[in-house]
Amino acid sequence: MEKCYHCGDECDSTPIIYDEKSFCCNGCKTVYDIFQSNDLSYYYDLESSAGATPNEIEGKFDFLDKKEIIEKLTEFNDGSHQIISLYIPHIHCSSCIWVLENLNKLHSSISNSQVDFPKKTVRISYIFNEISLKNLIILLARIGYEPYISLEDFDKKKKTINRSLIYKLGIAGFAFGNVMFLSFPEYLDLASSKTNGGEFWLEQYQNLFRWLMFVFSLPVVFYAGQDYFISAFKGLRSKILNIDVPIALGILVLFLRSTAEIIFNTGSGFFDSLTGLVFFLLLGKFFQQKTYSFLSFERDYKSYFPIAVTKINSLEKEETIQIYDIKKGDRILIRNEEIIPTDGILMSNHTQIDYSFVTGESEPVDKVSGDKIYAGGKQLNGAVEMEVLKSVSQSYLTQLWSNAVFKKDASSKFQTLTDSIGKRFTILVLTIAFTATLFWLFKDSSKALNVFTAVLIIACPCAIALASPFTLGNMLRIFGKKKFYLKDTQTIEQLAQIDTAIFDKTGTITTAKKSTATYQGLPLTLEEESLLKNTLRASNHPLSRSLYNMLTAQNILTLDEYQEHLGKGIFGARNNNSIKVGSANFVGDNTTNEHTNTAVHISSNNLYKGCYVFKNEYREGVSEVFSEMNKTLDLAIISGDNDGEKQRLETLLPKLTPIYFNQKPDDKLAFITALQKENKKVMMVGDGLNDAGALAKSNVGIAISENINIFSPACDGILDASKFKMLYQYILTSKKAIKIIKLSFLLSLMYNVIGLYFAVTGQLEPVIAAILMPLSSISVVAFATIATNVISRKIK
């Protein structure tokens, strides 16, 4: 089968041939035509078939005509020029960058556009009088780059990017290099007196060199290193000895002793070690700070909701209103595929609503006029009207978010491995420091202070503080490459500790993409099959679409007659043969018992033939993953669905795995809370809004996503659905990563012991500190990086 020249999807049996190229649909052909006629065909040379089929956008962006909305969305707006940043999920390759940065070829009023690839955003400046924001967005949508604009964009305050870590790293690095350079004479002892082979002219300027080093170290201690003082102070105030306490102590002692040394001219000080220490520590922090800027781990309902809806006012006219302005009693129009923003009553005759985001139910629910419909559902049936019962902030869905789980920061309570070691380490170091000082007080009191400071300097846990950021930071990158995206490095530590794993069913262990159906009943003749396929072709119902894709390909025939009965089924006729596809009642079958499973019934010429029973298709390797995990973890399934799949699930899962059905979002949350009260470390794996509470409450909440660019609820990690079978490997690898950190601690402790020997015996020279500190740091970093790469080889 031929692939579409534009989007790379497989073409139907009859591709659209245009310009000697085949296209899967008219949408793709149109985009090709636009690019071709505007001199943008280089798009296809960069990457082949990189495009997306443009979606139907009729009326979808009407709200962009409103002034207040434009004002909120744009970054800069002076009446004629506007600048806007748009999030475009489809950005994925160099072709995308190229075409979006050449938008001025499509419209001359676009003066500049710049893509930020990691964030998947494009920043466009344009002349407002010549192309309105709405037209700009429509232009983007027409070429297959439809921006995603949600309520979140409307509410978001102008973000200030925090670049302080880069500044601090730059300052520390700058000072480190210069101080090293200035202390070079001291290393080789070049400045000592001539009898020792020293250089006279260097000795003469020794003080100048030393004071310059002092000046360079000032911004390092008071600006670059301030986070450590603040963190140590906060820790002490809440009576916790975290790893930053010995670090802050080390920095402070280094600085004070070095300053004292140069004031009293007793030595050169440890400014090189001091700046180097801060530089390495910040480097570790920087490395740990890997973020997936195109993913959001903090989503709430706002990123699902549109900014505005169409209201039908008292004059029966359509009017766009902002979503917060919806009042009780308003009549609003919900278009196809739009999210219902608030609770209300359906006014149109009939519709189907997909509540899969909210409840986890995979099948759309039928609603008829007068039924109550709830916020969060996706409307699937043309345009319908509804009367609003509650304002957005009071709807069922929004209320879910008022639960306390979403407010407090659960992660702040978690004590990292580094911090728990830091506590013991601090106590140990202080004990050694005081014992050694006491000893020297009796033996040679002039050396006591020297020894005390030397111990604190050399024991500064630079390498220990680096072990964790580099191990976990590298792990985070490796996981990311294997399509498992974690919010932060702490999640890996928590993942290594879990003992209970709870799974949602729909969308998590089942796939949404391809469902399988088995046919039950009288066999269909070839002619009937052909008629069935052609009838389904015309229908947009989700079940028709999936059934259509499952049936063998047939020639395309033109139907003599086609009717769609909303909520019941479809009817097709050709050459005196007719076929009815739909619910049992619609096709005239009264014999079948009520199925808990979804089924599509078929009758030919008013004679009942049989039905296709749809089954949830489980992800590849579900059974294996569960039986592997069962060895070390407690498992459970908690589903919002009915129990129609119970028997099949039981055969798939290890024996005695608890399975709970008909669980509401609150029940799931309560279930996790109950487990945590029993001191269990719980991992929740889910996919939809209905799991959002449980995901937030659990120790590690992982969202499974078929397409990581689209919706995923607030969570700690996002797992690409294709990697589901590797889930247990990720957990095992996290456990190994913790072992690596512990080994790194041992390694750095060895260096500390060597250093302590020099310190306790009172022979610590600046050169030794200057060698030991970087050496221990570099070897720990190298060990951590190599070891993490080795252990993650198993993940495919």
């Binding site: 001199d39 960069l46 930020d116």
Partner: protein
């Protein structure tokens, strides 16, 4: 004045100049996106040739085909 003062002054001035350049580059957002520029530079040549005519005139489907190849 000894030559070492001159040398030290020069060396520190040079270092500080680079340091200021670094701060300015961070401030202007050059470090915010470290990936896209690496891709963008690969089609720079193409951009220069085609950008100039399209800035002068409005979109015309039939123009500048000669610029390709």
């Amino acid at each position: 004045m000894s030559v070492i003062y001159v040398l030290l002054t020069i060396s520190i001035i040079v270092a500080v100049v680079f340091f200021i350049a670094f701060i300015i580059s961070v401030k202007s957002g050059q470090y915010d996106d470290s990936y896209t520029p690496s891709v963008r530079m690969l089609f720079e040549d193409e951009l220069v040739i085609e950008k100039s005519p399209s800035l002068e005139k409005n979109i015309n489907p039939n123009k500048s085909t000669k610029l390709k190849e």
